[in-house]
């Protein structure tokens, strides 16, 4: 076991922060607040997992939050027009997948660089949502729908269960299936992966479809939790999800990244934002701290990697 790996370092930071907050922030270590955090964390967590998979292939998906908004608006429109919950959710997921397919098509088939494609589709999806909603929010969903985002199973919030399930499934997909293995291999060396008889087009297409699916799931949780769908809901998660994925150890140039790292990273973000909010620290300062921590953890990684190198070389 390498106790100095990126993931362990994140674990130390997570535990340390948790301890610090428990000791010094009143109200932090209370059942209500802990459950509260479990409600808050999944949206960003799920989007970050989607982003992580894209980053593994050395790509990026700037359209992820607006795709989520689009999926959410579709679900909301159908729900408010009397369609049943499953039908509406299915339609939302289908819409997101269509968006993911569009991204995937331009990236994997045509070969345009991901940042360009998703920059374009980001604007495109935003435009479609605006056109559909005229900028207004859509609300008023059935009670059963709002359970998804607000319900508890025993004492555990349903969204965190969804997040946990996704994390486990993604872990298995990435580590135990041919697709997952190909994702890492493609991230390291796309040419050699293609030359090994892997259908890299399909691998990448599925990556963007997966990200789109994550966008849809996050959208369902958000619309259900907030009882509303709107063009800019969750828009601040875009850069946050990249930051979380990277903080979680995902290499922006592809080929490395672990689910556990991203989960810890989203936990770190959650603890900081919640703890400091409880302390009454201004949101602006929280933003600053997030940036500092991002750079700080990467510096630690850099230093430890360098030390390791000089020891083994």
């Amino acid at each position: 076991m390498n106790f100095l790996s990126k993931e362990w370092i994140l674990g130390y930071v997570f535990a340390g922060l948790f301890l610090l907050m428990t000791l010094f922030v009143p109200g932090f270590f209370e059942a209500y607040n802990l459950i509260n955090m479990l409600f808050q964390l999944p949206e960003l967590g799920i989007l970050s997992l989607g982003m992580m998979v894209v980053l593994l292939t050395a790509g990026i998906d700037l359209s992820i939050t607006f795709l989520a908004a689009l999926a959410g608006v579709i679900v909301a429109t159908l729900l408010t027009n009397g369609y049943s919950v499953p039908v509406s959710i299915l339609a939302g997921v289908a819409t997101a997948l269509a968006g993911g397919l569009l991204n995937g098509f331009f990236i994997a088939v045509v070969g345009v660089s991901p940042i360009l494609v998703t920059l374009g589709t980001m604007t495109l999806f935003e435009g479609i949502v605006l056109l559909l909603t005229k900028g207004n929010s859509i609300s008023g969903f059935p009670e059963s729908y709002s359970l998804i985002g607000n319900g508890l199973l025993g004492a555990v919030p349903i969204p965190i269960l969804i997040f946990a399930a996704i994390a486990v499934i993604l872990s298995i997909l990435l580590n135990k299936t041919a697709w997952g293995r190909s994702v890492y291999m493609f991230g390291n060396n796309p040419t050699a992966t293609l030359f090994s008889g892997i259908n890299t087009t399909r691998v990448v297409l599925w990556v963007y479809l997966f990200a789109a699916l994550m966008a849809a799931v996050a959208a369902i949780i958000m619309t259900s939790r907030y009882n509303s769908a709107k063009v800019d809901i969750g828009s601040s998660y875009l850069l946050q999800s990249i930051a979380v994925a990277v903080l979680g150890g995902t290499s922006i140039s592809g080929g490395y990244g672990k689910v556990i790292g991203v989960v810890l990273a989203v936990g770190i973000f959650q603890i900081i934002s919640n703890g400091l909010n409880l302390l009454g620290v201004s949101s602006m300062v929280i933003d600053m701290l997030m940036g500092t921590i991002l750079i700080g953890v990467l510096l630690i990684n850099y230093v430890s990697a360098k030390r390791k190198q000089s020891q083994t070389a």
């Binding site: 660089s113 920059l119 589709t121 435009g127 990249i242 933003d287 997030m290 940036g291 990467l298």
Partner: protein, 327 residues
């Protein structure tokens, strides 16, 4: 002739030309000198930042903190203006401080990128949130209007030598200077060489870390100039005025044919990219495109432009191979 046809700016040029023709047909106002000057003036800030970003992208880097840096400097300009009032020094102080502070902030990015090997997008994402948070924390978002700015600065903002706004001239000057820097100075060629092949560049005696420090500092310096132009353009300071602007800047550069992985990128291309975005925004209103369709059209045009570019490049490559075998 064949050289012109092959240049990587061609794709975007064609799209811009088509769009402009369509607009000229639909709107009589589009091709007037007045409108063109408005487009240029309105996109001077974007242009200046995009030019700086071109150098960063050529080296294979990226700077997502650019909007936060520019916003921070507009605030500093505002503070300077208030504390110095109308004294003759205020203008000098602003013109010295803005690029200098920008270069210093850029240098921090450069140090992070060059010395710690943190990927540029991540390092600058970090500095972005620190800087944006700090700016808001210090100002609390307070807005400043023209009555807070010195008279001399306002006169400067209105100055129109040769009938062209000084802001456009600054944009052109920055473009021209950077083009010259990139093509005719040692550091400029080092930037291009590093983008083409960093290992070879090191072997040829180019100090890569210095090049990186330079491009990020230069980006920061241009952000300072952009902040002056922005303040002159809006005659006010809005700490929130640049939220999300970094993506527009990057879009302009990559639309202009720069390779996001480094190596390729040109000042004329970037200017075309800036113009495409500017013309699009301008034209959608002039052509009376429905508000709610505007984003969709913009997104679609970006997709078409980048796809066209890729297809063109692929075709070129195929043709290149053919030439070899027949020769």
């Amino acid at each position: 002739m064949s050289k012109i046809l092959k240049s990587s700016e061609l794709g975007i040029g064609v799209i811009l030309l088509l769009l402009s023709t369509a607009l000229a047909v639909t709107s009589p106002v589009f091709l007037t000198g007045d409108n063109i000057l408005d487009i240029l003036k309105g996109n001077a800030v974007l242009g200046i930042l995009a030019i700086g970003m071109t150098l960063v992208i050529i080296t294979g880097g990226i700077d997502v903190s650019v909007a936060a840096v520019t916003a921070a400097i507009t605030v500093i300009i505002g503070k300077l203006a208030v504390s110095l009032h109308d004294s003759g020094w205020s203008l000098v102080a602003i013109f010295l401080a803005a690029p200098l502070v920008g270069a210093l902030l850029g240098l921090i990015n450069g140090l992070l990128v060059a010395k710690t090997k943190i990927p540029p997008i991540v390092a600058t994402l970090g500095t972005k949130s620190i800087l944006a948070g700090a700016t808001l924390y210090v100002t609390n978002g307070a807005y400043m209007n023209s009555s807070d700015l010195p008279e001399a600065f306002l006169r400067f903002a209105q100055w129109k030598p040769l009938g062209v706004s000084v802001l456009i001239l600054i944009f052109f000057a920055v473009a021209l200077f950077t083009w010259f820097l990139l093509n005719h100075t040692v550091i400029g060629r080092s930037v291009v060489a590093m983008g083409g092949n960093p290992v070879s560049a090191m072997r040829a005696g180019i100090h890569l870390q210095s090049v990186q420090l330079f491009v990020y500092a230069y980006m920061g310096c241009l952000a300072g100039i952009a902040a002056i132009v922005q303040t002159a353009y809006t005659k006010g300071v809005d700490p929130n005025g640049f939220n999300g602007f970094e993506l527009t800047v990057i879009a302009a550069v990559v639309l202009g044919g720069a390779n996001i992985m480094g190596g390729y990128g040109s000042i004329p291309g970037t200017i075309l990219g800036v113009l495409l975005l500017g013309v699009m925004q301008n034209g959608l209103i002039l052509a009376h495109v429905d508000t709610f369709w505007q984003d969709i059209v913009t997104g679609a045009i970006i997709l078409i432009a980048v796809t066209y570019d890729v297809i063109k490049r692929k075709r070129e490559e195929a043709n290149r191979a053919k030439i070899e075998i027949e020769a």
